[in-house]
Amino acid sequence: MRRPAANHACLPLTRRAFALGGAAACVAGRPATAAPAFRFGLTPVFVDDEWPLLQILKDYLEAAMERPVEFVQRRTYKEVAALLVAGELDAAWLCGYPLLQYQPMLAALALPLWRGASRYQSYVIVDAGRGASQLGALRGDIHAYSDPDSNSGYLVTVSELVARGEAPEAFFARSFFTFGHSDVVRAVARGLAQSGSVDGYVWEVLAEIEPELTARTRILWRSEWFGFPPIVAQRQRLESPEITRFATALREMRDDRDGRRALERLHLDGFDPASEAEFSGIAARMRRFAERE
């Protein structure tokens, strides 16, 4: 079965990451001013057409920050986080899990608002026709994770299994990473995997824009609520003018026409100032997983 054209609305594919990187470099090749470009790292959580979204977002950010903006896309959270820690990026859209992993060096700048709140869930999905109703029924599955540094796409599931006294690597017969939440949905929908761990925000947005895909899957289990994947910067640069200006631009996005267009494509309501407390749930999951290890 061929993938519908609407599938291209989703970013988290590795292949697309490369394509997006090229597109981002292309966008950055036309600086609006003589100032150095603001390098913004992207993670596989976007849900929209890549190029139009990037262009709208870039137009807004460049106008708001009065400097060129360069998007940098990498396949994994780890790569983006490493670039950010190394100072290769000025800011990045990461998951709460890598944020907490690099907490001494990284800090959250802003939290996206989705459906009025800066929180989301992790889903464990199965084929729509499968009769299972409990996580325990997934024993022996081929399971699709999103990213080993993703909270919703990995940490939540493995920590839940640990909490239930299971060894994740033994619980599933086989597991693999798609490095994209939407591809977890596709892997399950196509039967490549019998179950998958996916970002609830991504699944819900896909259900709106690509319902025929999510209709082939079913949410078997929902996690508790976690802090939405934040916009992150180096902790030591939080008060720097460029970071402050960037945080302000994010917060004021909902007040700007181009900003609102970008938010609409992201299916978000806006950005709020970040609070470390939002990620306590992820921290608890990390502890649970660490206890097992």
Binding site: R2, R3, L13, T14, R15, I142, A144, A173, R174, F176, F177, T178, F179, D183, A187, R190, G191, L192
Partner: protein, 475 residues
């Protein structure tokens, strides 16, 4: 018989058209074979390209065991080819289990690879007959020396097969059309080229009457070669008609010459007894009172007159036109003997007369020509034998032929006269009276003429006249 019914002017164009059809069929076969090879080569190239492209991208992913990347790659390779498109692509690992497949429902990860490998042919040297709708191929996959298993592709060859069928259909249709057109054109052209032959044939053998010349209006002056041919035919016809006319005149002359000779003999035959008869009349006048003498003279007159009556009757029978179509009979032959008798007697020759055939054997043949043949041969034999010689006449019949043999003790037929009897070639006039007529009549009767010698060494002319044909015709 049926082949003879088709005229040359139709047969040759038909042969040309037939040969063109054969050439067309052979050419089509050659082109179709080449097309099949081309399609197989195309299938091989398409398959190799697909395998090479996929293997190159897939191998590093397989090394990393990057399931999703492999699946995404394989999934995007489906249905993208033109002609030969991949329907399912699978990687069977070195452990024999499915590592990944573009159709995970049918070939789940970790399932038995044999179900995927199935009847897959090796990529190198696989066979493809062009009509198959599915083609499953496999090739080993490795990366920098590491065995990664086997890459298996199920190709959907329907488009290629349909393309081949369409090409085959159009090719055959086109060739058939071209061949039929060329064959038809060839038929028409050759028939047109052979029209002069048909016209000459029609003029040579018209349905009614003898060969006719080609009318001057029909001689195409724009085509000098054909015009020459027509004129040559007309000249040949004129020459032939002149020859036939000369032959007929010659035959008539011969017949008249024979009649003259016969008339001479008859005059002699009549004249001889006339003296005796007149003497008898004179005796009667002189001794009218002597009853014995008168009776004796009257009997002499009676015998003489009866003899004259027989001679006259035989002559009349031989030349009466109203008996021309009467069948041959022994009476005809007896008449001949009577007619030739005086000439034989005059020449003081011996006549050996043997007729073993009965009226039933003779009846299939017409009387007039056979009598004429025999009379001419006997007159000639008598003439060449000379005084005191012997002439033989024998008529015998078998189932199929009537043999008419005339022999003599003369020096034989001179070489110069033999062509008159044995060939149709024109000859100069001269002696051998009636020999040309003998040949003409014998030929008309379908007979054969042979010269040989009898056991006694006498010269002999044998004429075999077929009886069977006459019987059939009569029937």
């Amino acid at each position: 018989m049926a082949r003879a019914a088709i005229p040359l002017s139709v047969r040759v164009p038909l042969i040309v058209a037939g040969l063109m059809l054969i050439v067309g069929v052979v050419a089509s076969q050659i082109v179709i074979a080449a097309l099949a090879q081309s399609h197989e080569r195309q299938a091989r190239e398409l398959a190799r390209t697909e395998f090479a492209t996929l293997a190159h991208a897939l191998a590093p992913m397989a090394v990393r065991d990057d399931v999703w990347a492999m699946f995404d790659l394989l999934d995007r390779s489906i249905d993208r080819g033109a002609g030969l498109s991949a329907e399912r692509v699978s990687l069977v690992g070195p452990d024999g289990a499915v590592a990944v497949s573009s159709d995970p429902q049918a070939a789940p990860i970790g399932s038995d690879g044999d179900a995927v490998l199935g009847a897959a042919q090796p990529l190198d040297g696989f066979g493809f007959d062009g009509s198959a709708e599915r083609l499953t191929l496999q090739t080993p996959l490795s990366h920098r020396g590491q065995d990664l298993g086997a890459l298996v592709i199920d190709f959907d060859a329907r488009a290629l097969a349909a393309e081949r069928r369409a090409a085959w259909r159009w090719l055959v249709l086109g060739n058939a059309l071209a061949t039929l057109t060329l064959a038809g054109a060839g038929f028409v052209i050759v028939r047109r080229l052979l029209r002069p032959v048909a016209q000459i044939a029609a003029q040579m053998q018209p349905q009614d009457g003898p060969p006719r010349p080609i009318p001057p209006d029909d001689i195409p002056e724009r085509d000098p070669e054909l015009a020459r041919l027509y004129r040559s035919y007309n000249r040949m016809l004129e020459v032939e008609q002149a020859r036939v006319s000369a032959h007929l005149r010659s035959a008539e002359r011969e017949r008249l010459a024979g009649l003259g000779r016969l008339a001479g003999s008859l005059a002699h035959e009549i004249n001889n007894p006339l003296g005796g008869l007149l003497n008898a009349v004179d005796t009667i006048r002189r001794y009218p009172d002597r009853a014995e003498v008168v009776r004796s003279s009257a009997e002499l007159l009676d015998r003489g007159l009866r003899h004259l009556r027989d001679v006259v009757r035989a002559t009349l029978d031989t030349h009466r036109t109203d008996r021309a179509g009467s069948p041959l009979s022994r009476a005809d032959l007896d008449d001949l003997r009577l007619l030739i008798g005086p000439e034989i007697a005059r020449q003081e020759q011996e006549l050996d007369w043997t007729v073993s055939a009965g009226d039933g054997d003779l009846a299939p043949l017409p009387g007039a020509p056979v009598r004429q043949i025999a009379l001419n041969l006997l007159l000639n034999a008598s003439a060449v034998t000379g005084r005191g010689g012997a002439v033989g006449f024998e008529v015998s019949a078998s189932d199929a032929t009537l043999c008419l043999c005339v022999s003599d003790t003369g020096p034989g037929l001179p070489e110069a006269l033999r062509p008159r009897l044995l060939s149709d070639a024109p000859v100069a006039g001269g002696e051998g009276v009636g020999l040309g007529l003998v040949r003409q009549l014998a030929t008309e009767l379908g007979g054969e003429i042979m010269l040989d010698r009898t056991a006694a060494g006498h010269n002999r002319v044998r004429i075999h006249l077929p009886l069977a044909r006459k019987k059939e015709n009569a029937a």
